[in-house]
């Protein structure tokens, strides 16, 4: 073990110390999803799309969330955003908080999306339900650096229209002409039907892009985030269209606790989702599945 590491342990910042962050805005996305805009006491941080933050409600606990704002936005405003669905103790407590309250933040953590690899390529972003936040970070980053990327397609599926997050932004994206935007819901409501919008799972959007803007496999990179079952079927669609395994990029969901590869909860085989991921290519996932004899998605 290197002496420097020992020294650093004694002089550096405590690994589990959260930075205090003030809630400056809370946006209701759906009845059980809120976006929190946070002002970190340490000032703006640099991060990559797809990295995550461990957010603490003191006295309740800490939970990981993909950062939903883009690094470019953070550079402009100094804030970061996380989008939280109330499902457990910590998320439930977060939803009880108000503007002006403090939380703790440890960020950025995880590897983030390999955005450089997408430069010059056709980009396909596929999001499902509450899987959109990290992809929003990625998409906004790409839109802010539009010239570096080829054609960008966003496919978004949700269970119902009410479950769609970032509704205002979705409308903006739909109107943009430098972005191909397609969305669908599993179960439509009246409004959705009246507008004649698409109904079906997200994979039903692939035949549409086959017509509108066919995929050129080696020159295409796809980013997927959503429930495991959706990831599974989207990968099948991409494989059918010969997108190379290493260009199919997804995030894996596991129970992350410490966020720094120590507590062990998120391990799959010998990889830690929190430090080796949460972003993996399908090639990496397949290799990992073989190595640890357990499924990744």
């Amino acid at each position: 073990m290197a002496m420097e590491a020992l020294q650093a342990a004694c002089n550096g910042k405590h690994l589990y110390e959260p930075v205090l962050a003030r809630i400056v805005e809370i946006t209701d996305e759906t009845p059980d999803v809120k976006t929190f805009t946070l002002e970190l006491e340490c000032g703006a941080i640099e991060y990559r799309p797809g990295q995550f933050a461990e957010v603490s409600v003191f006295g309740v606990g800490e939970a990981p969330f993909g950062i939903s704002s883009s690094p470019t936005w953070t550079k402009r405003t100094g804030y970061i955003q996380v989008t939280v669905r109330a499902v457990g103790r910590v998320t439930g407590a977060l939803h009880q908080l108000n503007v002006g309250d403090y939380v703790g933040v440890r960020a950025p953590l995880g590897n983030g999306f390999p955005v450089e690899r997408a430069e010059g390529k056709r980009v396909i972003i596929v999001g499902g339900g509450i899987g959109l936040p990290p992809l929003r970070s990625l998409l906004n980053y790409m839109l802010d650096n539009r010239e570096r990327f080829g054609k960008i397609t966003l496919l978004y599926g949700a269970r119902t229209p009410a479950d769609r997050v970032y509704k205002r932004e979705l409308d903006e994206w739909e109107r943009r002409d430098d972005l191909e935007y397609l969305d669908t819901v599993d179960i439509a409501d009246e409004e959705w039907q009246r507008l004649g919008k698409r109904v079906g799972v997200v994979t039903t959007l692939f035949p549409i892009i086959d017509e509108q803007s066919p995929i050129d496999p080696p020159n295409t990179i796809a980013f997927i985030c959503g429930p495991p079952i959706m990831i599974h079927f989207v990968i099948i669609e991409l494989e059918k269209r010969n997108v190379p395994d290493e260009n199919i990029i997804s995030t894996l969901e596991r129970h992350m606790k410490c966020g720094v590869g120590k507590c062990g909860h998120c391990a799959i085989g010998h990889k830690y989702v929190c430090t080796d991921g949460p972003v993996f290519s399908w090639a990496e996932m397949k290799e990992l599945e073989w190595m640890c004899a357990e499924p990744t998605v």
């Binding site: 020992l6 342990a9 405590h14 006295g59 457990g88 129970h255 606790k257 720094v260 120590k262």
Partner: protein, 362 residues
């Protein structure tokens, strides 16, 4: 390993000087003593006369690495009244662990590597950086020891700070690291030069000790069988059936590092401030709730998947490649705590023989 470049030196310590040497230690001294009913435990600052002699004990119930990674420890305290205030526990005192066994030294070196890989785990590494190990090489292995199978002893050729070998009225003292050298340099008055034949005797004793082990665990075969996935599901199912998910094997394993993090909050005091703390406590991958996600999905929903996970971590080649060692030092503690005789040697043996003890042909 820390200070691997340090000059390897050997000296002699007369046993009658041992107590004085122990008294000369600044900070905390941890050493093996017997508890009320005879169990061995590494106590902090025990009465020196209670410290066990080499021939008096095999090893402790709980590994002394728990002094650096205890079952529960407070990460920080907080006070909530408007803006939260965070306060960290005070820095640890220097610690010397006397009488630690080779397997636990090997474990400690692994833990230092693990807790400083990519990110430095502050609580552990703050303690580790201030800890010196004075180990005693084992000449009387216990009935459940199998360290020679896992590069965990009984004599250490590397990784030790100071290694003692008991030769009746003297100890052979081997310095193996910078920290060990620092310890010895400050206390030269206790030591005498070691005659060459003593080193030869040590090597001979180390050889002879290998013959005294009662069990073996063929780790290499275990690693190969497991990594090549040539173990039948049926065999995994039968092994997992004997696991009661007590967590004991992980809690006594000196290489197991999993922990859970929990917040506690007291009701507000008179000044309206609520105080609380965040702590971590040992966790175990055999527990059903260990990998359950916030939304309730459990990627390892059944016992056999969790059982496999444990042994993939301990025995998979991919882990070995990353960690530099197999995930076991052969201390044998899991044998003592296991309710179903599916401890490490039992599992490795099952992988090797493709047959589990206790299964009848019907």
């Amino acid at each position: 390993m820390s200070g691997a470049s340090a000059e390897i030196r050997a000296m002699v310590l007369r046993k009658e000087r041992l107590n004085d040497l122990l008294w000369s230690i600044e900070g905390q001294l941890a050493a093996p003593i017997r508890l009320e009913h005879g169990e061995v435990h590494f106590a902090v600052n025990p009465p020196i006369e209670q410290i066990l002699q080499d021939s008096d004990y095999v090893n402790s119930t709980i590994s002394p690495v728990a002094l650096l990674f205890p079952q529960t420890e407070i990460l920080f305290n907080f006070k909530l009244n408007g803006k939260p205030q965070i306060e960290f526990p005070k820095e640890p005192q220097p610690l010397t662990i006397f009488g630690i066994r080779s397997c636990d030294v090997a474990a400690m070196r692994y833990l230092e590597m693990f807790f400083s890989r990519k990110f430095i785990d502050t609580p552990f590494m703050e303690r580790a950086s201030r800890t010196t190990l004075i180990s005693i090489a084992c000449q009387r292995p216990g009935s459940s020891c199998f360290c020679p199978c896992c590069a965990g002893g009984p004599f250490l050729e590397e990784g030790h700070d100071i290694q003692l070998t008991d030769f009746g009225d003297i100890f052979l003292v081997e310095v193996g690291s910078h920290k060990g050298a620092q310890f010895a340099d400050g206390r030269m008055e206790f030591f005498e030069p070691a005659p060459c034949e003593l080193i030869e005797r040590r090597n001979r004793v180390a050889e002879e000790t290998l013959q005294k082990f009662q069990i073996a665990s063929h780790m290499g075969t275990g690693v190969r069988k497991l990594t090549s996935r040539s173990v039948s599901e049926e065999l995994w199912n039968m092994m997992a059936a004997r696991c009661i998910e007590c967590g004991g094997c992980a809690f006594v394993c000196p290489l197991c590092t999993c922990f859970d993090v929990v917040d506690h909050k007291l009701p507000p005091d008179g000044d309206g401030a609520a105080r609380g703390w965040r702590e971590r406590c040992w966790d175990c991958c055999q527990f059903a709730g260990y990998s359950i996600e916030a939304a309730g999905v459990n990627p390892r929903p059944n016992k056999v998947s969790r059982f496999k996970r444990r042994f993939y971590h301990k025995l998979s080649y991919f882990y070995m490649e990353m960690d530099g060692r197999v995930g076991c030092v052969g201390c044998g503690r899991c044998i003592q705590v296991c309710f179903g005789v599916v401890d490490m040697p039992a599992v490795v043996n099952t992988l090797r023989e493709e047959k589990l003890l206790g299964v009848r042909l019907r």
